[in-house]
């Protein structure tokens, strides 16, 4: 059994895991919000069902770890259920706790990656470059069967799902950037924009510099979400502490990230420090989290500074990243920005707030279910004849790019940063 949090910060206050899960009254009002329930009609793949499974595990009334694990691993952790829930039962946290209770040893690969993230991010960057070279040369595709045979089908799927293999990562690209004395904001480089989509990071920096004033690019550690969701909490805590210390070195400016999953995680750092002995870290985490902003929130706040309708003529829609809309409640802000720049070409698609099936590692381990959700999403985008679909999370970028490649090549996915930056540059003639 992996270490678990035991206590959670819920909408109703701090609660033990058991109290948090018992707040679910089984009313079932979450069911239709849950993409996996809607896709399968199976109660064990619903938020209510997952809550009950964890509750019964805690009450020692359920001895079926295999089926329980199946129910919990098929959760996308999108959090749409909590948004629908009257009592805001924190199902995602409950599911993650349930997985920790059921999990024996953390998988060696996850452990190794997490370790590298903590001790030597540089090595991680180098390893990725080697991986990307293999991908460019086509060797990785040939290697997929071997990876699958070696029990590493996750790696094979990851390779299969994305076409990105940038040689220069965001650190390389911002090498020459000079940070101002008192930056207008502090850019948090999430691993996605940093290593896989450096163009997104570049766009975020450029757009925010324009809208907020020059910001700082500081070499931050990984946020620890990977360790939090799939690995060991001790590692997640270590990375959180590193980040808090790292941010405390500078002033009190906003910390802005451009992957909603990481940003949402940064905002929940206090939950990692609920033990009495962690009181000091809890306080520090609380001040840290208060500084964190999702880049798309800022675009909304600055929407009036964006040029009007410069991107008109290209049908544009918005896909909510789950970790933006559900835990962070970000819905209106990105749309304000997108509508301002796209003008009459902005259209809302049906089910914009439904998960695309990306959801971190979900797409690599639950491929069929993920594909069902993806097809639905692509269908909704196609129904409004979208050419550009905007979003805010790395997982969505990978998943939607794959979906459009596969099912609807007329559309492409962009991070809202890329869109906003493009709009700003257009008026400046860049």
């Amino acid at each position: 059994m992996a270490e678990s949090l035991g206590r959670l910060i819920t909408d109703l206050g701090e609660r033990t895991l058991y109290d948090a899960v018992s707040q679910c009254s089984r009313c079932g009002y979450c069911e239709q919000a849950c993409p996996t329930y809607v896709a399968t009609g199976d109660e064990s793949k619903s938020p209510r069902g997952r809550n009950q499974i964890v509750r019964l595990m805690l009450e020692k009334k359920l001895d079926d770890p295999k089926a329980a694990m199946e129910a919990l691993t098929t959760c996308l952790t999108c959090g749409a259920c909590t948004t629908a829930c009257y009592a805001k039962v924190p199902v995602v946290d409950i599911v993650l706790e349930g997985r920790r209770l059921l999990r024996g040893e953390t998988h060696w690969l996850v452990k190794a990656v997490c370790r590298i993230m903590v001790t030597s991010p540089r090595l991680f960057a180098v390893l990725l470059k080697i991986g990307f070279l293999l991908k460019k040369s086509g060797l990785s595709a040939l290697g997929r069967p071997f990876l699958r045979a070696a029990g590493l089908s996750v790696l094979a799927s990851m390779d299969e799902h994305t076409t990105e293999s940038p040689f220069w990562n965001l650190d390389d690209l911002t090498h020459k950037r000079e940070n101002p004395e008192s930056p207008a904001y502090r850019y948090f480089a999430p691993c996605g924009p940093r290593y896989l989509f450096p163009r997104v990071g570049v766009a975020t920096l450029s757009a925010l510099d324009e809208l907020k004033g020059k910001g700082a690019y500081l070499d931050n550690p990984c946020c620890g979400l990977l360790a939090h969701n799939y690995g060991d909490l001790s590692v997640a805590r270590e990375l959180a502490k590193k980040n808090i210390e790292h941010a405390e070195k500078s002033g009190t400016e906003q910390i802005v990230g451009d992957c909603s999953s990481c940003v949402a995680h940064l905002k929940t750092y206090p939950q990692l420090f609920l033990k009495p002995e962690d009181q000091e870290w809890r306080t520090r985490a609380e001040s840290f989290s208060k500084r964190v902003k999702d880049a798309v929130e800022l675009y909304g706040e600055c929407a009036d500074k964006l040029p009007s309708a410069v991107a008109e003529g290209v049908e544009t829609t918005y896909h909510d990243s789950c970790r933006a809309i559900n835990p962070q409640g970000i819905k209106a802000q990105p749309r304000l920005a997108a509508k301002k720049a796209a003008g009459a070409s902005y259209c809302e698609m049906a089910g914009a707030d439904a998960c695309c099936g990306g959801a971190g590692a979900f797409a690599f381990v639950n491929e069929d279910l993920s594909d069902d959700l993806l097809k639905k999403k692509v269908g909704n985008a196609a129904a409004v004849q979208a050419e550009v679909v905007l979003t805010s999370s790395t997982s969505c970028l990978i998943q939607l790019a794959r979906g459009f490649r596969k099912y609807y090549p007329d559309a492409k996915v962009l991070h809202l940063s890329e869109f906003v930056d493009g709009a700003l540059k257009k008026t400046h003639g860049a």
Binding site: G28, E31, T40, G41, Q52, I53, A87
Partner: protein
Amino acid sequence: MRLDELRAQVAPGSLRSEPAELAVYSYDGALARARPDAVLLASGAADVRRAVIWCGENGVPFIARGAGTNLSGGCIAVKGGLVISLARLNRILSLDVAGRVACVEPGVVNLDLQKEAEKVGLFYAPDPASFRVSTLGGNAAENAGGPRCLKYGVTTNHVLAAEAVMPDGTLARFSQADDGPELLSLLVGAEGTLGVLVKLWLKLTPLPEDTRTILAGFPSIDAAVACVSAIIAAGVLPRALEAMDRPTVESVEVGRSLGYPKDPAILLIELDGPAAVCAREAAEVERLCAESGATTVRAATDPVERERLWEGRRGAYAALARLAPNVLVEDGVVPRDKLPDIVRRIQEIAAKHRVKAYLLFHAGDGNIHPNIAYDERDAEETGRVKAAGHEMLQACVELGGSLSGEHGIGLDKRDAMAWLFSDETLKLFHRVKDAVDPAHLANPDKLFPVAGKAATGRSFLRPPSGALSEYAKLLVDKVSSSPGASFRVRGASTRWKDETPAGAVELLTTGLGRIADLDKRNFTLTVETGVSIHALQRELEIQGVFVRLPKSGGTVGGLLATRPWPGLREDILGMRVLLSNGDVVELGGKVVKNVAGYDLSRLLLGSWGTFGVILEVTMKLHARPVETPSSLAPASPPKPSLWASRVRKAFDPDGRMNPGLGG
């Protein structure tokens, strides 16, 4: 249990029996839990049939389940067995815009139909609070209501036809248009105890041109209820007439301000219809509110402002759900004018059991929801909450009301049925169940007190009905004193004029000439069935009220028994019926919203006297004339259908009532 036999017949992976899977099908939205032995995620009606046949062969109970949001323990497997989940049967099969009919599978979510209907300018009227998640099959099985049912009627008023897998594994179709007894209404609201609904034809309604919302604050519940009665008496039928008490408003106002008046009672009144009518009615309602002593009246027409007025009502359950892990959403009905009494009783009962009841009610139809927040993990508290809930229901029954307006009886209230129905009526319910499901495999041990087990608590609390008239007593005596005889029930012989067969005892109903109760506060009428329709309508006209009966010769009873117009069903609330064994059973009641037990009153429509003699009928009244057909098709006795014959045996096992007339 030979599960493998069934597994081989259904899609791979759709029959589940892992402990974790059974655990998540062991509950619904209520408190009780019971694990089934297996769960079938049916992928079509054919699967349902295979499963029901397999259950029959193996003596395994089966329980149909939609979204599992039931609030009375209706879809849990109390006797184990197979849960048949219909969640995957979720296609809207057709939507006939011109005919305003949707044909759906039972797993379609209510909201999904609403969305599709709205695209073509229509809506589906029943709107239970769970409409975002609950399924149409579940809604039909429970005969769900919702705020809009005051004007538009509950689910049974919107089910035009249904296909069901019957307990013997056959597929049967029932329609309002069928000849003979109205079997369709027997299936709707039967909570899955008579078969599994696998296809529904539902009535859609044109979207209104205009909607207006009025919020009014009153110095007391009594004043608010008086206002509700005044609105209905004025002939205004709002699409919603909701009330809430001050503690409920306060619970929503934690951390935010709704801008609601601080009065002890709030009414939310929503009107819809053509713009001109809406405007006129709104003015009328505002005037009536002021006359009834409203301290504040606010009106809104634009959607944003209207939504703001609704915020407190819509946020109420959410607010209560945050007070504690569990909320008992009790569901009782009383005649509308008894609302102030039931509120006082509820408050006394809550105080006695040291619980806090938050009151929300569909005031227009006397349906009250006392809500009590608690933590099920505290056994002592849970005990007090349950006891309080039960006493509140007893109070409803004592005031002439019913046990449930829209949540169903299920498991939680099955024993309470003995408070409401006489032994004779309960026995009839059991016989109906036996006739349709002799092996008791369809959702067993629900809806009625379990045979052989003593009823808990006090029994039979319903206030005595008016005594039978002298003439009715005469008919009862005649039947009781003629064991073995066959009877010919006859009204004015307007619709059917055959001779009484030799040897048969004639039961002439024309002497049943009494208007037993004309209640202009509640707008209900109880009338003996020998009354001529002309005479009744003349009398009602003098009183300034109207009834949904077409202008026609003959008696009320003759019209109901021959059912020449399906619309007769809409306003039927209850009946008193004389059976061939001499029992007089009382079906339904005087309340306008009632889901306690099988809907046998509607079943008797079109039964041609072959089920029993309808002595009295209770119907809704209207303050304005109701549209009815100007001429009726001539009637002739129906050809007996298989299920009609089986159900008839529950009423008249030896076929002594009107033999030869379609029995």
